[in-house]
Structures are given as structure tokens and as C-alpha cells.
Amino acid sequence: MTDVQSLDRNRLKELFDLRSSYNVAMGGDFQTDPYPVWERLRKQAPVHEGTVHKLTGYPGEAFFQGLPFPDRPHFSAFSFAACDAAFRDEETFASSPTAVDPTGQAAGVESSLISMNGAQHRRYRALVQPSFLPAKSGWWISSWIEETVHLLIDSFVADGRAELNVDFCAAIPILTITGSLGIPVEQALIIREWLSQPAKIVGMLAPIVAARRESPRDDLISVLVQAELPDEDGTTHRLSDVEIYSFAILLLLAGSGTTWKQMGIILTALLQRPEILKAVRADRRLLRATIEEAIRWTPTDPMFSRFVTADIEFFGAHIPKGSVLHLCVAAANRDPERWERPDEFDIHRPLKRSLGFGGGMHICLGMHVARAEMTVGIGALLDRLPNLRLDPDAASPRIIGMYERGATEIPVLFG
């Protein structure tokens, strides 16, 4: 993959600006710091009636998984205990309002793993989990991540300056995922544009899937065409083309935007705290705790949602069957019941699970790939860009967004 230069920087900027039309539907233009409101809400009660964006004071409509569903009652949880309990009870708090038929004709996220429940979810997840284990990180790094990271740095290393949010953070995950699916670099950006039109992505994937069925390679599509799914009756079947398309679309949707924004949040936190940046540069082992702390402190996806399958008394709220329960994991991650000085970005905290990658059976499948991208990416910046610092003449990065949070711009100088 030597053609990373073929990425159109302006197009990239448009697609990966939270305030652009592609991202504004998720509330990407929200500029207020929501954490003080969430703290107040959590102090009042662990569970409130209403959606997270309305309770936060977002002026318009914002969309995410679990929204809008105007005919259903909506509740939102803000404490760690309430969010964790809901994640761990998938019978009461289901991932989709109706059962999923993955073998139907329509490929899309609604037919994928993320929408499945119970035994069906377990069977499909088991099929792909081996490719996403921590032990597989080396495969992802050597196959796609490392080369991408260094080619991107090559493209700006001589300039003495860069805008890391788009020129670096945004490009790494999309090129990693498309690379693992066998999609060439020059088509990677079109995929991002097409995320809301699955039929177009299917058109691009179809010849790749057909080719891998003929002759498998060392990539993810090849794993999927060869995988055997144990059915409920004990027999096994190979995944259909539609099942593979749905999974690939899920990966593109869940994997291309989240790691971009989370990496930008981590870099923002470090660059705005030069003493921590210096410590991490001096002792690279601190990078692991830095990444985990940033995912706790400001997760890029502040909310996941569940569909309530039975009337339930839940942390002081009566939630009727059919409701949507929004789990504000960003608020849960700063619950003082679990963390001391929760608003502080402190990389020396004892390592402890947060809900930044979600929780329960549906905890993020790609989280170890995301960790690998962020570790290799930030590590390479520290290796290759001496004296990396924010550009004092440019606006300092701000973290914005309602349901997809990330940095505005990260203008840096080095050398």
C-alpha cells in the first residue's frame, strides 16, 4: 500500500470534520462541555426520563443508535452502577427492538452482530472473535496499521507542522479497516461517503468476496468466507454473501469513525498537558495507561442504547416495557462512586475498567484493534516528531460533539 498519497486531503477534511454535514446528524456541532450537566443529572438520580441530548440541553434533534423512536418512552442512565447493570442484563435490555434475520436479502447494520441478541449474537460473535483477540493485534499491526501510520507521517514529516486530526487520526482507522477488507486506498474515502447507502458498499464488496471464495488471502474477508457457523440445531453453515456484507458494513461504520475521534481526544489531552506528554515520551510504557485513561475521561461515543423487554423498577425509575434506555457511559465514566477526582485526566490512576468501549456481551469487538491503532499511531508520532507541540499561533483543539465526540483540529509544530 504505497499509494496513501492518493488520499484527497480536502475530501478527507470534509468527511472528517465533526461540524460538516456528514457528522452533524449525530450532534457534531455541539460545542458546550456536557460534563457539568451530566454530573448534576447523576447527582439528582441515576436514571432520568428523557433522551441524553434533551437532558443535556442540546437545542435540536440528534441521532444515534436507539434514536429517534418517537413512539417509545425514553430513559437515560447516568451512574456507573446503572449503566453496568443494564449492559450485563441482555434479556431485559436488548440490543434491537425486533429479532434480527441475518440471512435476509438486505445487508446492513440492522442485520449485523451489533443488533443481535442472546444465543444468536453469541454464535455470530464467536465466528469473528478469534480475529479480534488481543493476541491478534500483531497481525493487524504488521498487515495494515504500521505501514499506514508511517506513510502518513512521511507525508508531513518534512513540513515541520501538521494538522493531526485529519491528516493523521482520521486516515489510520479507515485505511486499516478497508485494507483488512481488501478495498484499495483510492476507494477508501468513497466508502466513508457511502456509509448511509449500504447497497453501494455491497457493490464494492461483492467482487472481493467472490475473489476470496475462489482463492483466500491473509485478510479478514478470507477469514469470513472460510468461517463455519454452528447453527442452533448443531449443523454448520458457511456465511452467505449477505451475512458477510452486513458484517463488513458494521466494521466500516463502527471502526472508521470511532478510533479517529478517540485518537484525537488522546492527542488533545496530551498536547494540552506538556508535562504528561514529556513523561510519556520518556517512558513509552505510560502510553497504555494514557490510552485507557483517555477512554475513561472522554469516550468518543458517550452513549449506547438498549430496548427494554419487560416492565422494570430500575435504579429508582419505573421503566415500562417497550422503552428505550440510553446508557450515558461518558457520565458513568466520571462517577465519583468509582473514581476519585473523576474529572481529572490522570494517567497514574490504578488501571480499572471503564465503560468507554461499552459493556456486557456487546462490548466493542474491535477494541483491541483500536488500541493497537492508537498505540502504534501515537508511539510513531513521538518517535519521529521531536519537540511535538501545539501550534501557539493556531486555535487550540477543543473537544466537541453530542453523540460522536472528538477534537476540532489539532494543529502542531515539531522539530
Binding site: 450485563r88 460473535r125 480499572k352 475498567r353 456481551m361
Partner: protein, 78 residues
């Protein structure tokens, strides 16, 4: 706190989905087999408090730990 030598880690492969959270926290204790089910590679690989973090981190309650102070295996109680 007792050392890791006095604690026993128990795994329940039927609950494990292979999320890998345990390996994030206690990489010298846990790993996965080829079907992505958790295995203990070294029961004394990490300090006790690190193993406790891993037990708490398991999203499916597949791990439990019994120490000399609490002979009954405790499911994660986060």
C-alpha cells in the same frame, strides 16, 4: 491483602465470549485458546489486585476469584 499465591482464579468458558478484557488488565495471567475462550496461562502471573481488576473487567462474568479471606468464589461485583 493476601498475595496472589493465596487466591484462586476460576474461569467459566461457557460464559466467555472472548472479549479480551481480562488480557488488557492481567496479560500475564489470561490468554485465549483458538476458539477465543479464556484460559489461565499462569495463575500467579500478575499481582492479586491486577487479577481482581481483570475479574471486574470481564463483561460476561466468566471470571471469579477466591482468596484466603473469602473462600467462596465471588462473581465480579462492580
Amino acid at each position: 491483602m493476601p498475595g496472589a499465591g493465596t487466591a484462586t482464579v476460576t474461569i467459566d468458558q461457557s460464559r466467555c465470549v472472548g472479549s479480551g478484557m481480562c488480557v488488557v488488565y492481567a496479560p500475564a495471567t489470561f490468554d485465549h485458546d483458538e476458539t477465543a475462550k479464556v484460559v489461565v496461562i499462569d495463575p500467579h502471573g500478575d499481582p492479586l489486585e491486577v487479577v481482581e481488576s481483570a475479574v471486574d473487567a470481564c463483561p460476561t462474568g466468566a471470571l471469579s476469584i477466591a482468596t484466603a479471606d473469602s473462600p467462596t468464589p465471588q462473581k465480579d461485583e462492580a
